[in-house]
């Protein structure tokens, strides 16, 4: 393999016109102009890419949040039996009050009239158990039952005045029952002498402000017993 050209031919080729050594001004300016435009286009692409990425991230976060909300707020799937059970009004059992410590009562929160007198009456009656039992019975009066039979949703939506009235009815009946218990014990002579006057006064205080005929009769009897020695 030989590429040695004849000297004369090589000399002729060596004298060939040379190539340009630099771009002319028009081509050079065209290159710089295109460089400027390409840079701005690249900047725009980067900006659009950034914005698209940010928008996609926001969208993903929004979808995730929406999904969590839907999942958390969707009720559990219910069958026909469950649906039927939900349509039955909720009947709450009569609230069993906690054992009341001496000198305090849960009814204070409603009526504000049971306190020391209740404990005094119970002690005079010999045991707290009958008093508690009677009070439970008193709370299970038609008014209280009416309150308990109200469906839960209706009870939650009831006006505060209605709830206060129902509580007042229950308290009123309970006070009459308690006074009746004291009077019964007095008639049967079961009140200890040392506790008798205090129990009668406590029972009398329970009837203050009640204008029912039964309460008036009990009040009159208690007044008579308190006046007599």
């Amino acid at each position: 393999m030989s590429d040695d050209l004849d000297p004369r031919l090589a000399e002729l080729l060596r004298r060939a016109p040379s190539a340009p050594m630099a771009l002319d001004e028009a081509h050079r300016q065209a290159v710089l102009h295109e460089a400027r435009q390409a840079w701005f286009r690249a900047q725009g692409r980067r900006r659009r890419t950034f914005l698209a990425t940010a928008a996609a991230a926001c969208l993903a976060a929004g979808v995730a949040g929406w999904s969590l909300r839907v999942v958390s707020e969707t009720p559990l799937p219910t069958g026909p039996a469950m649906t039927a059970a939900q349509s039955v009004p909720v009947v709450l059992p009569a609230a069993a009050p906690p054992p009341a410590p001496a000198g305090a009562s849960m009814v204070d929160a409603v009526g504000g009239s049971f306190a020391v007198p209740e404990a005094t009456m119970a002690k005079a009656l010999g045991s707290e158990a009958p008093a508690e039992q009677e009070r439970h019975e008193a709370l299970a009066t038609p008014a209280a039952n009416h309150l308990a039979e109200v469906p839960l949703a209706a009870r939650q939506d009831a006006a505060p005045a209605r709830r206060a009235r129902a509580a007042d009815l229950a308290t009123r009946d309970g006070r009459i029952v308690l006074a009746g218990l004291v009077l019964t014990a007095e008639r049967e002579g079961r009140l200890p002498p040392a506790e008798r006057i205090a129990a009668l006064r406590a029972a009398r205080m329970q009837l203050d402000g009640l204008d029912l005929p039964e309460a008036q009769a009990q009040r009159a009897e208690l007044d008579r017993l308190l006046r007599s020695p």
């Binding site: 030989s2 590429d3 080729l13 340009p20 295109e34």
Partner: protein
């Protein structure tokens, strides 16, 4: 590659101008050897620099695998020049060849006949002949500009010289 990164980050045109100044001579020589026309060579080199600006991000991103801007530019300029030649199938070598100015002491028809024979060579052979005998480049340099191996350049040159000898003999050019 640092200049390209500066252009990419800051839009620095001075970096591009520096790249043009640094590589334009080699690129023009190669493109001119292939096309044989100064204007076509200028267009090919301009296109190479324009593509460099457009693909700067890709080049800088792939800097670890390909760090030679000059090699990339040479490849693009060569391909642009070859495309131009293929678009103008009958493009002759240097424009002066069409109406060659005979060197002093040389009959005008001899130079014209020789350059006409060079113009008829295939693109790669013509480019190899010009780069070898006009610019005096070594095989390695020619191989780098044409994207071939040195051995391949030797084969190309041998084929080109054989054709030229034959044409010169037929044309009656005295050796």
């Amino acid at each position: 590659m640092q200049l390209l990164g500066r252009y990419l980050r800051q839009g620095d045109e001075a970096a591009v101008a520096t790249l043009v100044d640094r590589h334009q001579a080699d690129l023009l020589r190669t493109a001119h050897a292939i096309t044989g026309e100064a204007q076509a060579a200028q267009d090919a080199v301009q296109e190479a620099f324009v593509r460099l600006c457009r693909d700067a991000a890709t080049l800088v991103g792939a800097a670890g695998t390909r760090s030679s801007v000059g090699g990339w530019l040479c490849t693009v300029a060569r391909n642009c020049a070859l495309d131009a030649v293929r678009r103008k199938r009958h493009a002759p070598l240097p424009e002066q060849v069409r109406q060659p100015t005979p060197p002093q002491g040389t009959p005008a028809d001899e130079a014209g006949l020789l350059w006409a024979a060079v113009a008829r060579l295939p693109e790669l052979e013509r480019a190899a002949i010009v780069l070898r005998y006009r610019d005096g480049l070594a095989y390695d340099a020619i191989a780098e500009r044409l994207g071939k191996t040195s051995n391949h350049v030797g084969v190309i040159l041998n084929q080109a010289v054989t054709r030229l000898r034959s044409d010169a003999r037929l044309a009656g050019i005295s050796p």
